[in-house]
Symmetry: C2
Subunit: 340 residues, 2 copies
């Protein structure tokens, strides 16, 4: 990894994300996971760690591997297997980000240039493939067929969700069921898998594995809902992200679906022009936001996010109270409320 990338990691860790409490709870493990990530993205082909380091550094808050670490802790796990498996989860996530940015032709991710913007599409596609393979190598070294099943199933579902999303993009006929099917696959499946793995390594009963899966799945849906809401929200700019990315690409998210359904024929014509024909001028995003306001589209989407967040927290009822359990609940609450 480059020095710049390492500096970015350090810098990012200092920014408030709402994950501080949970991150602190698994800090020692996370350091080891970060070390493993850097070590295992190595390849004699130097461009691979360069591209992988760029995206791993820029790609986020390590939320998914943190969920694996915290779930293992919640299950009282005392061993070390969760460390490499948390790295696997991050590698799979990173591989999908690399491919997503090519598919979406994105130039920016969290304010930094995407790998495809820096190196072109080709290395992004191939380094994504490498990280995906590397994740499976790490799982094989761990040796649990159960973990391999959870993560290969999740990977297939993620790809299905991404293809389905492609089909709903620019299609205002997309309904709520389609939307939740996409979100359940492209986002929630990996959240669920990341959490389940904590119970699997701790060899806890299936009920706890399923409870953690339900926590992750519902949290994942809430997380994506909030992400989609923020794309139309004034809060987004404060969080250092651009507003209207989904709108400009013609992505059909829940706020759009609600506003479209509740709109009159003139409004629907507006949505079709903007999202299907991608004919947009500078005032259109503001008009989209005003229509969402008029039809309570953001507020009602938030209500759904809160419900999924609540379901996530309730799934943890099977576990006795503990500091890490409280952090797992707090992180859901923070995620849901960050939209306001």
């Amino acid at each position: 990894m480059t020095l710049a990338a390492t500096a970015q990691i350090a810098q990012r860790a200092a920014a408030p994300t709402g994950l501080e409490g949970l991150t602190a709870r698994v800090a020692d493990d996370l350091r080891e996971v970060n070390r493993l990530i850097v070590e295992r993205m190595h390849s004699p082909v130097g461009l691979i760690p360069q591209v992988a380091g760029h995206i791993v550094a820029a790609g986020g808050k390590r939320l998914r591997p943190i969920l694996t670490l915290a779930s293992a802790q919640l299950c009282g796990y005392q061993g070390h297997r969760h460390l490499a498996l948390a790295a696997c989860v991050e590698f799979i996530h990173t591989a999908t980000l690399l491919h997503d940015d090519v598919v979406d032709q994105s130039n920016l991710r969290r304010g930094l240039s995407t790998a495809n913007a820096v190196w072109g599409n080709q290395p992004s596609i191939l380094v994504g493939d490498f990280l995906f393979s590397r994740a499976f190598q790490l799982m094989v070294a761990d040796g649990s067929l159960k973990v391999l099943k959870i993560l290969s199933d999740a990977s297939a579902v993620i790809a299905e969700g991404e293809v389905q999303q492609l089909l709903t993009t620019n299609d205002t006929a997309t309904g709520e069921d389609d939307y939740f099917s996409v979100v359940g696959a492209k986002t929630a499946a990996l959240f669920a898998a990341a959490c389940r793995i904590g119970a699997v390594v701790a060899e806890r009963p299936e009920s706890e594995e399923l409870a953690l899966g339900a926590y992750g799945r519902n949290f994942g849906i809430a997380f994506q809902l909030v992400d989609d809401i923020l794309d139309f929200s004034a809060r987004q700019a404060e969080l250092g992200k651009t507003v209207g990315d989904d709108f400009r690409e013609g992505k059909i998210t829940l706020p759009v679906i609600l506003a479209y359904r509740r709109g009159d024929e003139a409004e629907r014509g507006f949505w079709r022009r903007c999202l299907e024909d991608l004919e947009q001028d500078e005032a259109d995003l503001a008009r989209a936001q005003a229509l969402m306001e008029r039809h309570n589209a953001l507020a009602d989407s938030m209500a759904r996010a809160r419900r999924y967040g609540k379901d996530a927290c309730e799934a943890l009822e099977a576990f006795p109270d503990s500091p890490v359990k409280r952090e797992l609940i707090d992180v859901v609450d923070f995620c849901v409320e960050r939209a306001y």
Copy 2:
């Protein structure tokens, strides 16, 4: 799979490929593998089987899964595990083809439109990811960590080879070592893995597994060498493929490396203009072919291909004579000699 795709499979099976003998030897198994491939590329997201069916139909002669089936037969295997694993091998191969065609911006593969030409880059990338995940799901269902290790290692090596190839493209400073490193990774690793799996399912001693790995590896290198030679050869057109694809993309293959090294300064300037700057006119391919002829670049590349082919066949000496062994040897000989 579409009817058109099914018809293409039938049509292709009728064309002479040199694989007829080996294919006939595993015909019953191969029918079952083809059935599994169609069954397991299914997804509720209809675009996935559509894209996957297109490339699986257009993608080739099933050489790699046939190698798994034949290797299992060579090892006297009586069970059924090799069938799903042969399908895995084909899925991994198909996933890399989908991504390769995006990376190379190819419009044609074996005379048919590529998936990216028909549906765009996005489905090709994502359906590749799906097939790759599906391959791992099939391996997990088989349940052998040894097979999972062989194929996850091969997948990582393939991705490394593809990235390394990216770095050598348009770089006339590429040497023979770089070339053989790329070929060993991007092509030979999957040939080797496909063959080893036959010995693994038959639970043969490690020496036989390694012998089959050596056969596959050397055959893979010979196969790629011949492919690279044919791109500059008059035989290519007779085989129904376009000549000069690699030349137009600036790929640095062994014939180019030999001609460049043996050329004078004017010739090197020609190669640099054509392959580094990609400034080419209509007469340049013919001039490239003439320079290769002058410097024996194709003939000497063929000599290497023959040597690797010979090494492949010798690796099978550990196995007693049998019809399938003779076919495994014949297919190497045919592959090497098809260039003339």
